[in-house]
Symmetry: C2
Subunit: 224 residues, 2 copies
Amino acid sequence: MPRRRSKPSESTIRRLSLYLRALEGLGEEGESTASSELLAGRVGTTAAQVRKDLSHFGSFGKRGLGYEVAPLQVHLKEILGLHRRWPVVLVGAGRIGSALFEYPHFGARGFEIVAILDRDPAKVGRRWGEVEISPMDELESVVHDRKAELAILTIPWDGAQDVAEALVAAGVRGILNFAPLQLRLPPEIEVNDVNLALEMEALSFALHLGGSQVDGVDARSGEG
Amino acid sequence: MPRRRSKPSESTIRRLSLYLRALEGLGEEGESTASSELLAGRVGTTAAQVRKDLSHFGSFGKRGLGYEVAPLQVHLKEILGLHRRWPVVLVGAGRIGSALFEYPHFGARGFEIVAILDRDPAKVGRRWGEVEISPMDELESVVHDRKAELAILTIPWDGAQDVAEALVAAGVRGILNFAPLQLRLPPEIEVNDVNLALEMEALSFALHLGGSQVDGVDARSGEG
DNA sequence: CGGGCCTTGTGAATCATTTCACAAGACCTG
DNA sequence: CAGGTCTTGTGAAATGATTCACAAGGCCCG
Ligand SMILES: NC(=O)c1ccc[n+]([C@@H]2O[C@H](COP(=O)([O-])OP(=O)(O)OC[C@H]3O[C@@H](n4cnc5c(N)ncnc54)[C@H](O)[C@@H]3O)[C@@H](O)[C@H]2O)c1
Ligand SMILES: NC(=O)c1ccc[n+]([C@@H]2O[C@H](COP(=O)([O-])OP(=O)(O)OC[C@H]3O[C@@H](n4cnc5c(N)ncnc54)[C@H](O)[C@@H]3O)[C@@H](O)[C@H]2O)c1
């Protein structure tokens, strides 16, 4: 367990990912050192926030100088668990499933989709690159054999709960879920939901209010 | 402007979207009324949270009874700005772009992709359903003519800042951004980032810590 | 080697969100 | 219509996150 001074929040973790990407950019630009202020600028937060976030895990900077780009990158990768390879099972060989599979950036981070599962017989047996699509009844053996602890779930909502439970039963501990429903799983299982309709709705809300709209929601219809 | 008792937080808004979806489910199941506790259960929060969230916008329930499913649905749609149609411009006719375009659920919420733009000459001129892919130099006229205030940006990071600025210049006020970079735009422009690599990294972090890993991050290398 | 200049790391203070707890209503039953 | 049972709406309390502010260190220059 890393030198943990205090328990980092969910948002701290998400910012660590952003710092890591910012550092990669800085590295490519030839910078060898970065202050909390520079990092904050790249990521859209404040210098104090950067320092506080990092301070949960250790002291990585030098006073008066800032942070060294390359070593901090390494530290962040270790903190985030990216110093190792993560075999991932993808369930749902549909539209987003295929977009994700072909996305090269996952591989660059150590996430490797080692198996694809789908229940559609027309898809089972096809190959995507190196990986052949397997039928659902191989779920358990595939998860087990490939030692996959992470899964990406890109199937419609009505099958998602059952499949998620099967994944967990087979040994999966973390799920990136695209199906628009609340998965009910044991609390030790980590679930991250990606809900794109919700993101659009948040935009709609912001524009709706800021815009010209003035009529609208009246709470009680005929009360006194 | 709706009856706003106090300013709702970002997370309140996101939960409203979840309540709305939960209500739709309850409606389909034939429920005509729902307590804050029931709603909380469906969405994975607490009853007090549900009531507090709703209370920012009005009084929608009846004491002793709960909330009526159908009217609350209508109220939530109005609060979120979903009572109207939102024309949307999609920039980037690639893998996720096409997945999003074909996703029927957006349409069900009033989001309609009315134009697709791409800079690849091989893609320009093709049709996706009713919509023809336009070249980038038509960006301004398309956004303007279709009165699109929302855009979805699914192009690689290196073009994203320029295209986002062009969208804003043409009248777009909200962007759903898939490119993994921090867009720098005027503060009145609403940007929601979808960063899938980051979501995977958050899972990696959680599993990494909870798991067997114990070696790890040591802060200073050769200090004394 | 001392003084000036920077930037970190971090308690304390502020600000935001969530949870608690309960009075005010609403309905139903007898 | 009074009493019992429910569930809302909401101040107040608790918890959590961010920002402030500054002492402690490190580097460089002269
Ligand atoms: N496409 C989008 O842009 C988008 C946007 C937001 C959310 N989503 C959500 O992502 C999920 C997938 O969307 P999509 O557009 O890729 O769908 P899709 O229909 O293109 O693909 C779904 C795939 O899952 C397979 N499948 C269905 N049920 C299954 C089951 N029980 N077990 C195993 N495989 C099963 C199907 O055979 C198909 O190959 C859905 O939940 C959808 O709501 C999609
Ligand atoms: N595919 C994924 O699963 C995935 C996951 C996470 C993030 N992303 C991000 O989403 C974005 C799109 O990913 P994708 O996989 O769909 O890429 P893609 O290469 O399949 O599609 C990108 C499309 O954008 C077009 N394009 C490129 N530059 C452009 C420009 N300057 N102006 C207009 N059009 C331009 C290309 O012609 C192409 O059609 C990228 O930023 C990527 O990092 C994708």
